[in-house]
């Protein structure tokens, strides 16, 4: 066992015996996300570095404290990328925090979610056990898929010591089309195009303009751009635009109203909520800046079979995520008890009892 893992094991074992809650933290760039963290900080940043990376295997294994930026530049140097385009939300973002938060960026609807790219994990669970699940190969169905269970679990089940991810080649070319259209037509267009063999890799609608990113062979882009129309940008302008959506530096995300993240079936019509909205993922992700009361926002999502999470800028004490059905809530409690029977890891970060 390496020194960093051993120190996690020791620290967690002591904390579990003492019933001392621990707050797992990398760069702290996602402190705003989820329930209010509780306990002494366990800093993951000492456990850093790319353990193995072989571009022709399309797999990279990374320690949790590795800066996300460092990983992405190593991949970029080999013409590869994390296809789920995870948001950093700050300079210090680490890979461990990225996987624990489970958030994906603009390419998610086309390429898949963060959890789709998780191949294996090494964790230290709440009993201080160093455990290994999954592996470094593309296909692996031996044992339950605990690796993907850990993705997005917000550090409530264990410290992600090391994660193996599938990586993909960067597209040869990209461009962005801007098309003026009102929200209902944009939702309809995004869904229609997603059902056609077009190289659409991201969509974002805001303020009467639908942006569509195309990725792939230059010939395919040319043809699709001709078909879809709109104003076309390339190169740095395209990169900056999608960076603004991914990192939430675009103008929409500024302002005093709370920011809600609504995950809904993609083709549902515009949600009736006060304030403004930005739509991604062919309609499946709707960001709302609204001062509407939480019950109203949650009702707007659940009416259409979706879920609302309070993302930024309001009181988190009443809970951040949509409530689970009693049957799912029971399974969450049971699984928490499997990995963290003392209930010390990131207590309250996901739900009050997780």
């Amino acid at each position: 066992m390496d020194a960093a893992s051993a120190s996690f094991c020791g620290r967690i074992r002591e904390a579990a015996e003492a019933g001392q809650p621990l707050r797992l933290r990398g760069g702290g760039t996602k402190d705003f996300y989820g329930g209010i963290p509780d306990g002494e900080i366990l800093d993951t940043r000492a456990c850093a570095g790319i353990v193995s990376y072989e571009p022709s295997e399309l797999v990279v294994s990374v320690r949790c404290g590795t800066p996300l930026a460092e990983l992405e530049s190593a991949l970029r140097a080999n013409g590869q990328m994390l296809a789920f385009e995870p948001p950093h939300f700050g300079a210090g973002a680490t890979l461990g925090g990225c996987v624990a938060a489970g958030l994906s960026g603009p390419r998610r609807a086309a390429a898949g979610a963060l959890r789709d790219f998780v191949l294996g994990v090494r964790i230290v669970d709440g009993r201080g056990r160093l455990l290994s699940f999954g592996g470094r190969v593309m296909k692996n169905v031996a044992g339950y898929d605990v690796s993907r269970l850990l993705a997005g679990s917000l550090g409530t089940l264990g410290v992600l010591v090391e994660v193996s991810l599938k990586v993909l080649p960067r597209p040869v070319a990209e461009c962005t089309l801007q098309l003026e259209m009102p929200q209902p037509r944009a939702i309809e267009a995004m869904n229609r195009w997603a059902g056609l063999p077009l190289p659409v890799s991201a969509t974002a609608w805001q303020d009467g303009v639908l942006a569509v990113r195309l990725s792939g062979a230059p010939s395919a882009l040319l043809e699709a751009a001709k078909r879809l129309g709109g104003e076309r940008t390339e190169g740095e302008a395209t990169e900056q635009f999608w960076e603004g959506i991914r990192e939430q530096t675009a103008r929409f995300f500024a302002g005093p109203d709370p920011l809600w993240r609504l995950s809904v079936p993609p083709a549902v019509p515009p949600l009736e909520l006060a304030g403004t909205q930005l739509i991604e993922w062919n309609g499946a992700l709707r960001w709302a800046r609204t001062s509407a009361p939480p019950t109203e926002v949650r009702a707007a999502a659940s009416r259409v079979g979706g879920y609302a999470a309070l993302f930024r800028g309001a009181d988190r004490s009443a809970g951040v995520f949509s409530a689970l059905s009693p049957a799912l809530a029971r399974l969450h409690r049971e699984l928490k008890a499997v990995f963290d029977p003392a209930g010390i890891l990131n207590r309250g970060r996901l739900y009050a009892e997780n």
Binding site: S56, G195, P265, F339
Partner: protein, 496 residues
């Protein structure tokens, strides 16, 4: 293997009680217990293991499924769910004291939403039938296991099935949005949703590939993709397996993500060529099938790039499909590989290990050594793009010695896969077949976690017991028989 048992002595009183309890709500035709009716269910696609089930239940409705589970739970009767019975790891092997729950009657496509690109189907719907029924909308369901004309989506969910297009389009877990069903006590449960992200832990990922141990699925929402405008495939010949393996790495290193990337060795191409006349190069030591899909312009570009890489990697012959008929012919050999083995050997045993691609040469050399050691032939087909090997050991099950040699051969190959950093199963599941190798792949703490996860869903251990995850006592026993390099696996376990 070697567990082809005669019908075990059935506890007749118990059987009568279970049948009576099920008949309270199931019609006569939906409860089978006479041996001539239950015998056809004695095995799945892994025919070397057989058990006649005590009772077979064939419910029609979700409510009946719920009541079967409630009844069995109350009576402490184990339940084994079964889809189309095509599984290759014995995941649906019945229990002599259990109820086999067949989902074969759940054949309905519930809803197709071409705009949101989803289909809601019952678990007994065949994999290929989904793509057929959504084809008028220009859509399809991507995972395509070789058994796709027969296997059902419920079984695909249980096994997290793959296919020949996984590298680009993923496995079942990447293409299913939601499942609905019941836990073992008959409580309704739903994982995932038609929204892409659901709150809380990703239980959908946990349930997919859980081999029927965590829940019984009664409805599945799958993701549909637009059918690519066109696809073409290159067939490349190599005079050396290692060169072919390096060519695969070179294609990927060139930034190309082929829609399909398959390898077959010479014994495999010879076996299938005789059977389907796919036009394979019989001189080649290995052939690669390398597919590109997309718009016609895109495919032309990519095919040109792939050809250049394959040529530079030492391909001795290249041919590109000119039309769809050509393309299907190139693939026909690969898809018929298992059937072809059935023609040249009384039985074959298909392995499913996955390895890092760069270790391919080493593993194939090892398999060749094992052929000599055990005196059995073993052609290889290989999902080269994602490192998933399917070596096929040819044997005659009527010869008990061959059966034993096959079993040992397979065990050595699977353990080699683990040793090079791979896994014992890429897409077929552990079932009963690879349960001992789970003791080699995982430590006892990980296995303990798996058992604890199982208990969270099924405290009494009644749903498909004895599959997928070995009891720790079994690993201790297996370890005793299996000392490697002087080191006992699971040294902390008591021996007996």
């Amino acid at each position: 293997m070697g567990e082809a048992l005669p019908a075990a002595q059935v506890n007749v009183e118990r059987q009568r009680a279970v049948v009576a309890a099920l008949r309270e709500f199931l019609p006569e035709r939906s409860v089978l217990w006479h041996e001539e009716e239950t015998r056809p269910y004695e095995c799945d696609g892994l025919t070397a293991y057989r058990h006649v089930p005590m009772v077979v239940a064939l419910p029609d409705t979700e409510q009946q499924v719920q009541r079967v589970l409630q009844t069995c739970h109350a009576m402490n009767v184990p339940v084994v769910p079964r889809g189309a019975g095509t599984g290759l790891s014995g995941g649906a092997l019945p229990l002599g004291d259990g109820v086999l729950l067949s989902m074969a009657k759940f054949m309905r496509v519930v809803r197709i939403d071409p705009v949101a690109r989803v289909a809601v189907v019952q678990p007994g719907v065949r994999n290929a039938a989904i793509s057929d029924v959504v084809a008028p909308f220009g859509l399809y369901y991507a995972p395509d296991p070789s058994s796709q004309i027969a296997c059902s989506i419920g079984g695909n969910v249980a096994e997290n099935s793959g296919g020949v297009h996984c590298l680009k389009y993923g496995l079942t877990v990447h293409n299913v949005l939601r499942v609905r069903g019941y836990t073992v006590d008959g409580a309704p449960i739903e994982f995932g949703s038609e929204a892409l992200d659901t709150p809380g832990y990703d239980l959908l990922a946990l349930v997919i590939g859980s081999e029927g141990l965590l829940a019984v699925i009664t409805e599945v929402t799958v993701k549909l993709l637009p059918k690519p405008q066109c696809a073409r495939v290159i067939m490349a010949s190599f005079d050396d397996v290692e060169k072919a393996g390096n060519a695969v790495a070179a294609v990927i290193a060139a930034g190309i993500l082929p829609a399909g990337l398959e390898m077959m060795d010479k014994p495999a191409t010879h076996a299938v060529e005789e059977f389907v006349h796919a036009g394979y190069d019989l001189e080649a030591v290995a052939i690669l099938l390398c597919e590109s899909d997309g718009s016609p312009e895109e495919v032309d570009d990519e095919i040109a790039r792939m050809k250049a890489v394959l040529e530079a990697s030492g391909a001795t012959r290249l041919s590109v499909s000119r039309d769809e008929a050509d393309r299907l012919r190139f693939w026909s050999g690969r898809k018929a590989a298992f059937g072809a083995m059935g023609r040249i050997s009384p039985d074959y045993y298909c392995m499913d290990g996955t390895i890092p691609r760069k270790r391919l040469g080493e593993v194939l050399t090892f398999i060749a050594q094992m052929e000599k050691k055990y005196g059995l032939r073993c052609p290889n087909v290989f999902h080269a793009g994602d490192g998933n090997l399917h070596p096929l050991i040819l044997f005659d099950a009527n010869d008990p010695d061959q059966l034993t040699r096959t079993e040992q051969f397979a065990a050595e190959v699977l353990e080699k896969c683990i040793a090079v950093g791979g896994t014992i199963t890429g897409e077929h599941g552990v079932g009963v077949e690879k349960i001992d190798q789970m003791c080699v792949q995982f430590g006892s703490e990980e296995l303990e976690v798996f058992h604890a996860v199982k208990r969270a869903f099924d405290p009494k251990g009644l749903l498909n017991p004895g599959k997928a995850v070995p009891a720790l006592s079994r690993c201790a026993e297996f370890g005793r028989m299996h000392v490697r390099g002087g080191k006992l696996p699971h040294p902390e376990l008591p021996r007996f």
